[in-house]
């Protein structure tokens, strides 16, 4: 049986289209059963996430025939899930059903694709690990309902193993690619532990909220929020289990806090060297990480020249995140080489199986083969 894959992803189709083909988890076992009952696939796994919908199938059919049948199956499924409205996808009105957005691969490309998906190489955020969990869940679901067999079991298990190998042997998952996670990483490069660190959030913007949340999730001790609107500060502090302080009093917190995330809409610096210098004396040489994600900036860059002060603005953080992404892209070739190596035994195993199948050919065919070999 040939392993084939058909589907659409963030690379080939917009979200309006992807959502039409999405499979609800509860409906996947039924869809898999239908695929097998129809004879299109002997084994099948359906992966349905926000970024991709894919059917992996081990099929007795010729790939071209299998793709045609699987396309019909998917398109029928897409139509079952609901017609697109003009509001959702104005550009698609009157188009024939989405044939260009569907991609399909037969062996060996199908196996390479599966491994790349498992390793996060085909993800929107290269190297992310969430897809591996989603792929495992999709496989487990198919396995539990008895829709996988020798071919897909081997292919998926090897893909999971390869994903782990790639994660440990390359830098594909190294580094943070969002402003919030870069800020957390910087904090971890400065402080011995985040467990006893207090964070001051000045101004309650979306990115500062995400950054504070990321710091809390990595173990930061507590969050203090200050905002021109005390109500907003209290609401945000309540979400974090922290406390709010009036905007005019935030400087009084500097003796205790270790990390400042600032994102006010003030048109001028709210913290400069003259203001910070005396505050640093009270901190007794403890390091202070300042994350300034406001535009225009809240913190005078001059403060970075003070001892034990580490200032990063939004461009610095984005620069690091972009560099990380660049590094991940540079790792792709190495990952693909590993994948090529890991796929080889699967293909070799299939060739052996085909050879074994050859022994079951009619005697006349075997004789023909022998004569042609002579």
């Amino acid at each position: 049986m040939n392993v084939v894959v058909i589907g659409l992803s963030h690379r080939s189709a917009p979200v309006e289209l992807r959502e039409r083909f999405a499979f609800a988890e509860s409906k996947i076992p039924g869809a898999l059963k239908s695929l097998r009952d129809s004879g299109i696939a002997g084994e099948a796994v359906i992966l349905s996430t926000c970024n991709r919908v894919e059917i992996y199938a081990a099929t007795p059919l010729e790939p071209a025939k299998a793709f045609a049948e699987l396309k019909i199956f998917l398109l029928r499924w897409g139509e079952i899930s609901g017609e697109p409205s003009a509001k959702d996808n104005p550009g698609s009105r009157g188009r024939s059903p989405h044939r260009e957005e569907l991609y399909s691969y037969a062996e060996p490309d199908s196996l390479h694709h599966l491994f790349k998906v498992a390793c996060g190489l085909d993800s929107m955020m290269i190297g992310e690990t969430e897809i591996l969990g989603q792929l495992k869940a999709a496989y487990d679901l198919a396995l539990q309902h008895g829709h996988t067999g020798a071919r897909l079991n081997k292919a998926f298990q090897r893909a999971f193993h390869t994903a782990k190998h790639v994660r440990t042997q390359t830098n594909i998952q190294r580094g943070s690619v969002s402003v919030a996670s870069v800020a957390v990483e910087l904090a971890e490069k400065i402080f011995n532990s985040l467990g006893d660190r207090e964070v001051l959030v000045i101004g309650a913007g979306d990115t500062s909220e995400k950054t504070a949340r990321a710091l809390l999730s990595r173990g930061a001790k507590s969050i203090v929020v200050t905002n021109r609107s005390l109500d907003r500060a209290q609401a945000l502090a309540g979400e974090f289990g922290g406390r709010a302080v009036p905007f005019d009093d935030w400087a009084g917190e500097f003796e205790k806090i270790d990390i400042v995330i600032s994102s006010t809409s003030a048109p001028h610096y709210i913290l400069d060297r003259a203001k910070l210098e005396p505050l640093m004396k009270a901190r007794r040489q403890r390091p202070l990480l300042l994350i300034d994600i406001a535009v225009p900036r809240d913190i005078d860059p001059e403060v970075n020249f003070l001892e034990n002060v580490y200032l990063y603005n939004v461009d610095d953080l984005r620069g690091i995140a972009d560099d990380y992404l660049k590094l991940r892209r540079e790792e792709i070739a190495g990952c693909e080489a590993i994948i090529a190596e890991k796929v080889k035994p699967l293909l070799a195993a299939r060739s052996s199986a085909d050879f074994a199948d050859g022994r079951r050919l009619p005697f006349s065919d075997l004789r023909k083969s022998a004569q042609s070999a002579d």
């Binding site: 830098n171 190294r174 580094g175 943070s176 870069v182 990483e185 910087l186 971890e188 490069k189 400065i190 402080f191 011995n192 007794r284 040489q285 390091p287 970075n304 001892e307 034990n308 580490y310 990063y312 610095d316 620069g319 690091i320 560099d323 590094l327």
Partner: protein, 275 residues
């Protein structure tokens, strides 16, 4: 193998320290991004040869091998590498080796200078013999080793702090530990060294000395007490949080460089150590 002496073992160890120093340049250029065991194993192999050299010398003189400047110098280097091999078991502190190996190479090459290792007179006891002398010399040299590794941790701190301050990508890409932990490691090593130095100096006070040789005005004693006060001051100031982390790191390196540059000179000037 009579022709293969303890100095040959030490020479091989120094060659491995050199190889480690060269390898460290590559680690440096790569930004210390991947956990690396090669340097650790190079230093482990060097440590084995270094230990063999010291054991062979110890058996040949039937005492703790700290009887002349060659032996004292190799002991300091041995202490640094031994402490590193323990600390380097922690993956994030393993890169200390990249900073330690150039120091070890420098000390090793210096120790190999023939003038530092005059032959012990046949049949005569070594210049410094006896259990108390061994304790005195060993604890003081261990203290120097701890100060040395503390200075290495301080150098690592300075590099990482500079990278963080000036937003170098290497700061986040490297597998270095947080700068606060590096500072703690450096201070703890110096504290351990200070305790050892105190014990060593106390043991030295009770050693028999040649008649007519003054104690308190001996250059080595004056120098050692000065060094003891320098490290005491650094530890007290750090406790009081007076110097910034950067200034403290610079001071720890400066103190060790001063120790390295003056240790041999004061030894030669000391009538107590060269009766």
């Amino acid at each position: 193998m009579v022709w293969f002496t303890d100095r040959h073992f030490f020479l091989l160890a120094v060659a491995l320290y050199g190889a480690s120093a060269v390898y460290s340049v590559f680690l440096w250029r790569k930004g210390f991004r991947k956990d690396d065991h090669a340097n650790y194993f190079l230093l482990l192999a060097a440590f084995a040869l270094h230990t063999a050299a010291m054991v062979q010398r110890g058996f040949s003189v039937a005492h703790c091998p700290v009887n002349n400047l060659y032996e004292a110098t190799t002991f300091v280097a041995w202490t640094i590498v031994a402490a590193y091999l323990v600390i380097g078991l922690l993956p994030r502190l393993r890169f200390l080796g990249a900073f330690a190996s150039p120091v070890l190479l420098g000390i090793g090459v210096f120790a190999l200078m023939p003038a530092l290792d005059p032959p012990h007179p046949a049949g005569a006891p070594p210049e410094f013999s006896g259990a108390l002398v061994s304790l005195h010399a060993a604890t003081i040299l261990l203290a120097y080793g701890a100060f040395g590794l503390g200075a290495v941790a301080a150098a690592m701190f300075l590099m990482q702090q500079h990278d963080l301050k000036f937003h170098k990508l290497r700061a986040v890409l490297s597998l270095f530990p947080p700068i606060q932990r590096l500072e703690i490691v450096a201070v703890r090593l110096v504290f351990a060294g200070f305790i050892l130095l105190t014990v060593g100096l106390a043991a030295g006070r009770h050693l028999p000395r040649p008649t007519g040789t003054p104690y308190w005005t001996d250059p080595k004693v004056v120098w050692s007490i000065f060094l003891w006060f320098v490290y005491l001051a650094l530890l007290v100031l750090r406790r009081l949080r007076v110097p910034s982390s950067r200034n403290l790191a610079v001071s720890l390196i400066a103190a060790f460089v001063f120790l390295l540059l003056t240790f041999w000179g004061t030894n030669l000037l000391s009538p107590l150590h060269h009766p």
